[in-house]
Symmetry: C2
Subunit: 121 residues, 2 copies
């Protein structure tokens, strides 16, 4: 039972040539990177979170403003903001009792714009 460089068995029905398989294996990032990537995209995969991020495109906002803008409860928004914050997609700034959230960096917008391009074609 032969094994290729990737360590999986090369069965008789394999249609690809060995060199293609080597290239695929060579280019494929490690398990952990791919999981991180999937986890990143998971945060964009819910329309509530997308709407939150879109709202923050214009300016920083506090939790209750976002909740009212999106017609959702404070709790639901807070839970989602925590997820976005843990993934470093947003950052929080406290001002007295109020906490203002803002986009963490330009990547967030770049990723959403890239997705939007695919939608609108």
């Amino acid at each position: 039972m032969k094994q290729n460089d990737c360590g999986f068995e090369v069965c008789d029905f394999m249609h690809l040539h060995e060199d293609v398989l080597k290239r695929v294996c060579a280019e494929m990032p490690g398990e952990e990177v791919l999981s991180d990537l999937a986890e990143l995209f998971r945060l964009f995969s819910d329309s509530t979170r997308i709407r939150i991020l879109y709202a923050l495109f214009e300016s920083e906002m506090c939790v209750c403003d976002i909740a009212q803008l999106l017609s959702m409860t404070q709790s639901a928004i807070s839970h989602q903001l925590r997820a976005l914050k843990q993934a470093k997609l947003v950052r929080a700034r406290r001002d007295g009792k109020t906490v203002f959230y803002a986009l963490a960096d330009d990547h967030v917008r770049a990723i959403i714009d890239q997705g939007m391009e695919h939608i609108l074609e």
Copy 2:
């Protein structure tokens, strides 16, 4: 009970100025577009699907090759390929008994690359 241009109630605790709210509402795409966008990103939010797409970066592949490359069952891969195909992220080409899948367009790679940039910073 006042209402702003977006149709939601402006409560007493609102921290944002009216002009900011107007801009947020004006820039926010419609419900359907945002749902489509979330649905698109959902397809990138699973590491199996990410690995499939990464594999297809190098060349088109048939279902059983992908299954073996990723050490997963043919059924699992087929189910995921169907989802990717419905979202027009991959396209299928039949050659006898074999079906070869390939990336549908360059957006797929662009979106993944954009996500990867955020991961690796």
